[in-house]
């Protein structure tokens, strides 16, 4: 008689079965191929840090694979994945001073965006970098990923009615920054 019989529900095979993932290799590889670039772009633009985006993308997929949730199709899986990434970003921002995401100064994030400003759309990137992280999140999810207000609410954990208003304000601010750009250029010329 071995101890597995004395203590029920403890089987030698349990850990190996536990390591079986809800998605098989091929299904995951296909899903990864379709979603990884979008997720990285979201993380990189919202965090303003490509290296952080690399780390968080890996972590998001690992958490996604470890989660025990019913298979609700690709769209829902993708939304869930973006939700994980959003939580990682929120935890990251909360870590240094235990402050709310809204309380953090915009300059802090603008500074971190140096790497992203080197691209050919530098001024666009700069305008994005001057936005608050939450505004960036909302703008990106709404206009880069084309998520509806309901879906954004699900991803960010905010209320659907709040999303409408926050998105309106963020869009107005971003538009203002984008309009300032040609005016600044003209002034310099």
């Amino acid at each position: 008689m071995t101890w597995e019989y004395v203590i029920p529900n403890v089987e030698t095979g349990a850990p190996s079965r536990a390591s079986e993932l809800p998605m098989d290799n091929d299904a995951f590889a296909a899903f990864y191929k379709r979603s990884a670039r979008s997720l990285w772009a979201y993380l990189a633009r919202v965090s303003g840090d490509p290296a952080l985006a690399d780390d968080f993308m890996q972590e998001s997929y690992v958490r996604f694979l470890c989660a025990s949730r019913p298979d609700e199709g690709e769209v829902a899986s993708r939304r869930y994945l973006f939700g994980i990434a959003t939580n990682l970003l929120r935890d990251h921002w909360r870590k240094p001073a235990s402050t709310s995401i809204e309380e953090l100064p915009e300059e802090l994030f603008a500074e971190k965006d140096r790497a992203m400003q080197l691209d050919s759309h530098a001024s666009l990137g700069r305008a994005m970098a001057r936005m608050r992280p939450r505004d960036r999140q909302l703008l990106w999810l709404a206009h880069a990923e084309d998520y509806s207000h309901r879906e954004i609410a699900e991803i960010t954990g905010l209320g659907e009615a709040s999303i409408r208003l926050l998105l309106f304000r963020a869009r107005r601010k971003m538009a203002k920054l984008l309009r300032e750009r040609p005016a600044e250029k003209a002034k310099r010329a």
Binding site: Y32, A144, D146
Partner: protein, 172 residues
């Protein structure tokens, strides 16, 4: 800042999402977008962010999906081992605490009687209970034997309570 809804926003959004703006927009809608601040903002921001997305996506460096699968498997396995070990550790701690409490109780009760058990150890070799013939009779059920029965009983109790706790926490 006034939150003012525009009735044509949904129409503009639809065209932007499908990538058919401004080609598929009627001249009337195009002129509306020029005059409506809200729709104008929407078009400007949407187009700017979309172009940023196209560029950012091309800069992404992707890891192998196999590596991520392996990491996830490893994490799930570690979590499974941890979940098996947690009730065991709890049972061990509980058994240890029970044992210590029993030992303290025993010492306290004996201290009240002038630590008689030390004397019991001195007398132990002369006791009938240590002779082979007593194994075959019930005569050993005397007061001298109380400790010899009590200590293992309490030990077994402590172990069993640990096992019971393990089973209870394992079911959770």
């Amino acid at each position: 800042m006034i939150f003012k809804a525009c009735l044509r926003e949904a129409e503009v959004t639809e065209l932007l999402h499908s990538g058919r703006w401004p080609a598929a927009g009627t001249p009337e809608l195009v002129s509306h977008v020029h005059s409506c601040r809200r729709c104008n903002d929407l078009v400007l921001v949407k187009q700017a962010i979309y172009s940023l997305r196209v560029e950012t996506i091309s800069a992404a460096r992707l890891d192998s999906p196999g590596l991520l699968l392996w990491r996830a498997q490893l994490r799930r396995r570690n979590a499974a081992f941890a979940s098996v070990g947690r009730p065991l550790a709890g049972a061990q701690i509980f058994a240890m605490i029970t044992f210590i409490l029993v030992a303290v109780g025993l010492v306290a009760s004996q201290a009240k009687h002038g630590i008689q058990w030390l004397q019991w150890f001195e007398e132990a070799p002369q006791m009938r209970a240590f002779h082979l013939e007593t194994l075959w009779s019930f005569s050993f059920m005397r007061a001298d034997w109380n400790l010899m029965i009590l200590i293992p009983t309490l030990g077994v109790l402590a172990i069993l309570s640990g096992v019971v706790l393990y089973l209870a926490s394992e079911k959770q």
